[in-house]
Symmetry: D2
Subunit: 113 residues, 4 copies
């Protein structure tokens, strides 16, 4: 159940509606909120070495803090999708498909290109 | 199917693995990437009036551009969750529940508090 | 004296050197740090109405908090300029001149263009 | 002359005034603009190794791109300081002094603390 993006979005929308926060949840403000949460994630890593994922996975404190920030990011991302009637799941699958064509697997460029 | 977060995450992980991008997809770099995509979203709204969602919904160009950026944000968010073995759906549902207790619905504070 | 950008940069560089922080003050990390401070600034405004400057000037608490964040941003901006031997004052004046040509004053476009 | 922060701020303010952009240069929007420019800086480094400054200095393309983004950041930082009558030079010197007390030089903690 907690894998169903539509269900999670409905829960977040209900949370916002119950508090009469539509006034605050304007798209401009939600864009800012996503960006602020993304920076709280960046803050966790800003002075750290650029470790591979395996090393980070063993750092339980870092992993838990990352989990909290990713959840915050998804909450606001779902709120903005909800406000603008965007089907976030379909949009993301289509994006992965578009990226798959843009970066061919048989001759993958670096992600910098 | 495109509502299943675990399924979308698996697709994104496969996309990354097929291109041998684990070297790039270090947690530090993915945190930066999420933040960069979030700012591309902010850029869409930075000089605009702070309109209510209903007005933004009628602006098809803005809505489509927002959809693209939200998808980019979720792609990288899922990549980081994947790298650190984080169950993003559960984390998000738990966050909504925690926020529901923090901000009581019967006497909702402003989100600034 | 506190108007002299070279002098302020020298002070910030001395602060970093005295603490042996060159190891941390890698360009990648400093870029992240500037971005994190910029988001702390965004956080001050994310749920607020989009007021004109005159209204914000009268809000002493907001003005003081903004002042703190702008100072943090300039500290890290000067650190990165210092690390890469960039003359920030000249770069900024040249940028203003380039923008002046890009956006003609006699027929100014909106900044969105 | 291009070291005088007050002089650079006056030039940026004149650039804005000549284009009648006060309407756009609201504090909320300028905070967003600084953050967007900071992320363009982050984008330059997001997939790169975390090199020491000496290595980055030798990469002329990266150094030039960094210079451009730092100038953009300072332009908007000065605009916001101007809109709110903030003396950015004094604020920054005071911040360096406060940081000097917070992080003692004779027993420097890591910047993470």
């Amino acid at each position: 159940m907690t894998d169903d993006l539509t269900e999670i979005q409905a829960r977040q929308a209900e949370f916002v509606a119950e508090r009469d926060w539509e006034e605050y949840h304007r798209p401009k403000n939600l864009a800012m909120a996503i960006s602020v949460e993304a920076s709280e994630l960046v803050e966790l890593y800003q002075w750290r070495e650029s470790e591979l994922s395996a090393a980070c996975r063993e750092n339980e404190e870092l992993r838990e803090a990352t989990r909290e920030e990713l959840a915050d990011i998804l909450c606001y991302t779902l709120s903005l999708a909800d406000q603008l009637n965007i089907d976030l799941g379909t949009a993301t699958v289509e994006k992965i498909e578009a990226n798959s064509e843009r970066y061919p697997a048989d001759d993958p460029p670096s992600p910098m290109e």
